[in-house]
Amino acid sequence: MSWHLQSDTIGAYATGRLGVASAGSVEAHLLECGMCRAKLAGLAQSEAPARRRHDDSLAVILDQIDRPQPTLLERFLTALGVSPGLAKLTAGAPRLRQSWLVGGLAVLAVAVLVAQVGPGPAGVVMFVVSAPVAPALGIAFSYGWGGDPAGEIAVTAPLPVLRLLLLRTVVVLLSWLPVAALLAVALPERGRVALLWFIPAIALTSLTVALASFVGTARAATAVTTTWLVLAATTVRGTRWTTASAWLEHSFLFRPIGQALLAVIALGALVVAIARRTSFEVRRSS
């Protein structure tokens, strides 16, 4: 803002002494300018009696700026029955969310490219193995890498930490699963093989939440995804001439029994996280 409202203009506005036309332009500026709004808020407090009848329009103005329209994500969560406050908290810190989403997308895009132009099924295998990793990392990132930077303030607030963590986890999964599914359509492989990442994605996410109750989100995500990648890398194998499904099913992780086991793990981990909910509520590191 290069110009600001005069103090007496603000005073006149606060006490309702401005005509409709000038009040309109004052309001237009107030919508843009935090400094004048703050001045107005200050004045409004000191001139309480005179301001009464003006209360409503002032409140409306302050509302519009300081409670911006709920984002799509917030509205979606509210529609699911989440309270507006919790929805805002869940949708908060969007930068943290975007970083992992973009990173995960980049990896999958490379995998799709390799699958389309590269020889053999390496691209498809890469896709299926790496797609489950992103949401697990996403949980850690939605708190900031290394935990919520304001974590000490968060743990001493009444809102249960696990409730927020689970909600953010749902958001992470809801944003990742459709994206990965859309990209999977671009794979040369169709059907079951192109969906083998789905159950592992949920299992890794759920395991990360459970493990986070012991070691915090960042370490949990690192441990879970590293274990997954090592397991997959050492058990998946095949040759250039065998199919992607042969490569993957060389590993127990992608055989029906392994997938069933992962589904059980996903549920079990969720139970563990809920049973250990109070351990999210004390700080861990120094």
């Binding site: 509302d63 919790l86 805002k88 004390v282």
Partner: protein, 285 residues
């Protein structure tokens, strides 16, 4: 409930904390009342650990602790405590990309101030107290150190907490900000309790009704500032030459040497200050 009971905000009995095998707090007994309690002590004495325990960020592993009438070890009690305290950590982290308003809003939501009208006026109230209302739409990462500090203080004031816990709140404040801070704390302490840690005996003299000196995880002193001054009675000496047997000595601005502890020959007894009292308490071996 009688009048003295209502003034008690927290009660610690034999509170201990260890990290691994290392004991950091030993058997702390303390009663926190309405007004300002100052925690003094050298670095590593356990001030931050004690404040974290009071804030329910850490669990004590020995002793008993009730805050605002609730037991910190009971999950429901902890929830009720958290609704009624405000906490400024020694190193509050920020969401750097957030604006001041968004950050305080985030904390207000964590504080379960769910009604949006009420939340908004509460945010404006605390930002106004800390003189930050005019930069509420700035991003945190562009703020100066002093401004960030004021934001951190503002979030601690949300919801008008009955117990306000401040870990080194005056570090890095300029004299004007420090004055403003003292006004805010005095205002809060008229009805509620404030516990703050500090390295400044000036803060204690200006603000505190009660002083607790921590040393190596134990309370070395609890009492009012006047009693802390009195603790050094008969231990402060002035002379023209340094006397190395004293626990501490330094050359004062007037050219005399001030000693705490054993006097050099021919020294005169001096009236102690609050700082002398503190130095006497922490330098005793």
């Amino acid at each position: 409930m009688n009048a003295t009971d209502t003034a008690v905000v927290a009660r610690l009995a034999g509170v201990g904390k260890r990290f691994g095998r290392r004991a950091v707090l030993h058997g702390i007994d303390l009663t926190v009342r309405t007004g300002v309690t100052g925690l003094l002590g050298p670095n590593g004495a356990g001030k931050t650990t004690l404040l974290r325990i009071l804030a329910t960020a850490l669990r004590p592993d020995a002793g008993e602790l009730t805050v605002l009438g609730d037991d910190v070890l009971d999950p429901d009690g902890r929830y009720r405590i958290r609704q009624r305290i405000g906490y400024l950590p020694q190193q509050p982290g920020f969401h750097e990309w957030d604006t001041v308003y968004d950050f305080v809003n985030h904390v207000a939501l964590l504080q379960e101030i769910n009604d949006s009208r009420r939340r908004q006026s509460e945010i404006l109230r605390v930002l106004d107290i800390m003189n930050m209302a005019d930069c509420m739409h700035q991003h945190l990462r562009w703020l100066s150190g002093g401004q960030r500090h004021r934001v951190a203080l503002a979030q601690a004031l949300l919801g008008d907490p009955q117990l306000l816990l401040l870990d080194e709140p005056t570090v890095g404040l300029d004299p004007y900000e420090r004055l403003r801070f003292r006004q805010v704390v005095s205002e809060v302490a008229r009805k509620n309790a404030v516990v703050l840690s500090t390295h400044s005996t000036d803060d204690v003299a200006a603000l505190c009704d009660e002083v607790v000196v921590l040393r190596l995880g134990r309370t070395a002193f609890t009492g009012c500032p006047a009693a802390m001054i009195a603790a050094a009675d008969g231990h402060v000496w002035l002379s023209d030459a340094p006397g190395p047997r004293a626990a501490t000595w330094w050359r004062a601005a007037d050219g005399h040497y001030r000693h705490i502890g054993d006097p050099p020959p021919g020294a005169d007894l001096a009236a102690p200050t609050l700082e002398d009292g503190y130095l006497h308490l922490v330098s005793r071996s």
